[in-house]
Symmetry: C4
Subunit: 319 residues, 4 copies
């Protein structure tokens, strides 16, 4: 079996620099440009693992707008409230998060909880409990408002308000960010940097963390996924919980195999009212226990992964 | 393995009352407000079971409006009747309910049948047979009209007419209610209380029954589900019957495990023309037989569960 | 295990005639009204089988209109032809029907082929071959035009033209009918009777054949299904071929079990360009071979089933 | 077991030429008409295989228009860029193609890469690497513009520009063509012939290659599929990766069995940002390894299959 790098070496492509692609990946963001510097291939992270697995737990329910999208038909007559839709969201904080918290303890892993500010204010004790039990609180906007089209100062206040709510309620200063539907705008990274954030996750482009340059300074990207994501697969694609198990296991199998030659990151994501149902927690348990049977893997919060990215000399730098 | 309560005790959160959340779950219902009083953790229901399983059988076919939604394309030219669509509904009372009735007997369980008034009047002998065979008749509106936007008196008559039809035909006085598409309005609970109903099911927020306060009096909620529901999964999400089996088993597995430490309720739901097909009755048989292999579980009608909620001192009171 | 009939006998419902329901199943068809006379329970068909399985093979491709619905996006600019969509249909007669024909021989079963007139004229040799190999030719309209809204004489010519095309090309006089999308109109049954047809399939209401009365004369209904139907499950619901296998097996299992006490019919349906693909023929083979392992089942063409319905004294008569 | 040909021989249909169907398959294309000459049945390709399997790897990401369709909601406000959507496409060239390239080497097969001109210019080194590692570069248009409605000269330039980009960057002269969404226009085949192309794939009508006549000269068709196609099944039909495995294996099983009596071709297709994910590469590995366990199969690039079609005297000629 020849690897891609073996081939490049054999054909001398590296020698002629042909493999350095002018990716210009931030063409759509006027503030970021530059060249891609490929990392050397390293097979281990600083903690000795080949594959680092990062689990997200979105804490959003309770902070949603009236008549927010739910499994019920989106056809409410004007002036009326979708009451069963509201109870669908209530499930997120009454059953979902508590169930997942117990499960993380049982499984022995720590996760990153992306917290919407308005949800934190609605259920402060639960937000506090998440942090007290050892999980990371990351910011996820002040509420569910579309972020990418906000003017600069509006967006800055929107992000700061959400982070302040988390800090005030939980005592945890968030350094990671996730925009609504991953839809950051052209200014978002610069704002995050100004506010002291250290990483964002709204990027699907790689199976490992990397660094970009924002106004001349490095900023970490801890990539997210929609392939192992409950809201996309269960609510969006109508997978059954057992399909979720099989697909995520297949994802792991391939990344684990690749990690023999190359450091890898895997991301899995759960939302309070979806990933917190009994059937999905059963699925999660099976997935995590499957992964844990393998050697040289580790479960990390995203703040830990971001720090690893900053500390690794050989990390991918997309600038 | 540490449980959530263990954690709370250890960190002293209960001591500082931080865990009592100002849920304000009825914010959208101007008539209901108040505080949440969390139950003490009890692990058994009054009958000695840890997990009570409640099966619903919707009796709606025959009472649907002309050209009601069906698997056929919703594109009929004006003035014509969707004849194959009608036969799809007829299946519900010609094959579906009779097949399910035989199956409940074979499986040895009693269910709650949510009966639409117009369907009861269309097929009175079948409605009567459901009750005669030991199942609960619960009300489900007089017909398929959208309920949440009705004025108070209109809605009261609508609910009463449906309940009266059931009483007249079957001799059973319904005390439980299910609104069309679960969409109760702001007045529904008060009307139900006035009419003598004891519980409703249009709430997805918990995996156990609870009490709310309606005009100063307790009213029981026996939560429903859309995760183990044939109309949502088979017609809405396009699950195959075997996916339904696997997902409901996973739901049971998790709730059963949780019930070691905490009383739980599981809800499964079938509609006449969907859950009554051969493939779905085969699925149901496999699911129920699977559940029955476990100790300390019981199958209960929803009127029995509501009564357990009223009788339990430690039940969740959301007021 | 008590059966539904046992219960009825025990509770004396039959004695008080309470079980005779005023079904009025043809309320939407002004020409047909009357009472339902329930059959006595018989457990065997005339050929000794308990469960008769009927397979349909739609022969439609080649007769479709320009830019007919296909898996390709329905967004063609005006004045252009969807060429890949056309090749999707061509597959039906170039690969699909020939493959299925070989498979029916291999499996040793005869099927009913519902033939669109325009498709027959497009590929006459193939239509002829279907009949020559022992399968039934049933009529399916002259082309893909919506039938339910045609005036009486227009519809009569439409049905007759299609049947005449089949007769002329194959030598087989069709006595069975299937309307486009099952959507017969209020006049269809009367027209069919006038034209000498003996049965139609556009009814989903039962898992066994039955008789209705059309202008005072009996007319057979051989019910169709959308639960074991490739166009509904594969194209409509996006099932994978293995889901199709599992769901149809579950359907069989339940009907087979019921057939211990009650005669049953099972219907399975395949369309040229869908059921004729390699993956679906592989699925079909597995399903048919599974069914064949059971005793007291038979595979019958729908004309045979209609005849059995006419011959059975105890058949369901919905009039 | 009797085969279709056995039947035809027995009934003498060939003798009366009844089986020669006036297919007129290019009725919608005014430039091509004629008769179908059926091939004699041959059971082996020139290389001794009964079944030739052809894998496609679409190279499109990076060349897509702004706010191209992606798994994210298609609801961007005007004037804003869908940044997470862009990262979904970036995955195609940063992870997807490199991962698939390593996998083809590991599996020991060569594939056909359908390259969009704009994608090639965006990532020239990667395009070059595909060719250097032994895969075929086929043309796929200059960019993602809808092709079927272009005037003749516009379309000719569009096709030529894409082919020139491939030739310039990779050194490989493409002789195969795939139109956007398979939607060639009425002039496409004539243009391809003028430009020196030898085959196209935008046809789903057969499970084997065949020849058509374009302006009096033979032109090869190497049929494509949407049944074993990641963009159709994973993105379009929402299959999980394991469903993809099972469906493609079933497709193979049937074609392999048929190939005992008749030469067959099987097509499987992967797109950079979809088929290149870990879960889909895991699926691909399982599928290819499964196929490789069978004797008398071969994996071929589509240029090789087109050449086999030209060289086979008994190939299907649809003219």
């Amino acid at each position: 079996m020849s690897s891609r790098r073996d081939f490049i070496k054999k054909t001398g492509l590296i020698g002629i620099a042909g493999i350095v692609q002018p990716l210009n990946v931030f063409a759509s963001s006027p503030k970021l440009n530059g060249h891609v510097h490929y990392k050397k291939e390293n097979t281990k992270w600083a903690d000795g693992s080949r594959l680092v697995v990062s689990v997200s737990m979105q804490f959003e329910a309770g902070g949603q707008p009236v008549n927010a999208e739910s499994p019920f038909p989106q056809n409410m007559q004007k002036g009326f409230v979708d009451l069963p839709g509201e109870t669908w969201y209530q499930y997120g904080y009454k059953e979902g998060i508590p169930r997942m918290l117990d499960n993380w303890d049982k499984l022995g892993i720590k996760v990153t909880s992306h917290m919407v500010g308005s949800a934190v204010l609605k259920n402060p004790a639960l937000a506090k409990e998440i942090v007290e039990r050892g999980h990371e609180a990351a910011a996820h906007g002040m509420d569910w408002t579309t972020e990418y089209s906000m003017p600069y100062e509006t967006e800055k206040k929107f992000i700061k308000d959400g982070a302040d709510a988390i800090k005030k309620v939980t005592g945890f200063t968030p350094i990671g960010y996730n925009a609504n539907w991953l839809r950051r705008g052209a200014n978002t990274l610069e704002i995050l940097q100004e506010l002291g954030f250290k990483y964002h996750i709204d990027d699907l482009s790689r199976d490992e963390p990397f660094l970009v340059k924002v106004k001349g300074k490095e900023f970490a990207v801890v990539p997210y996924t929609i392939r192992c994501n409950d809201i996309v697969l269960i609510e969006g694609k109508n997978f059954s919980a057992d399909q979720f198990i099989r697909q995520v296991k297949m994802e792991f199998d391939q990344l684990y195999q690749e990690s023999e030659k190359k450091r890898r990151q895997m991301s899995i994501s759960f939302h309070d009212r979806i990933g917190g149902t009994p059937q999905m927690v059963a699925a999660t348990t099976e997935i995590i226990n499957y992964i844990k049977q393998h050697k040289e893997i580790s479960f990390k919060r995203k703040d830990e992964i971001a720090q690893m990215a900053y500390d690794e000399k050989s990390v991918i730098r997309e600038f």
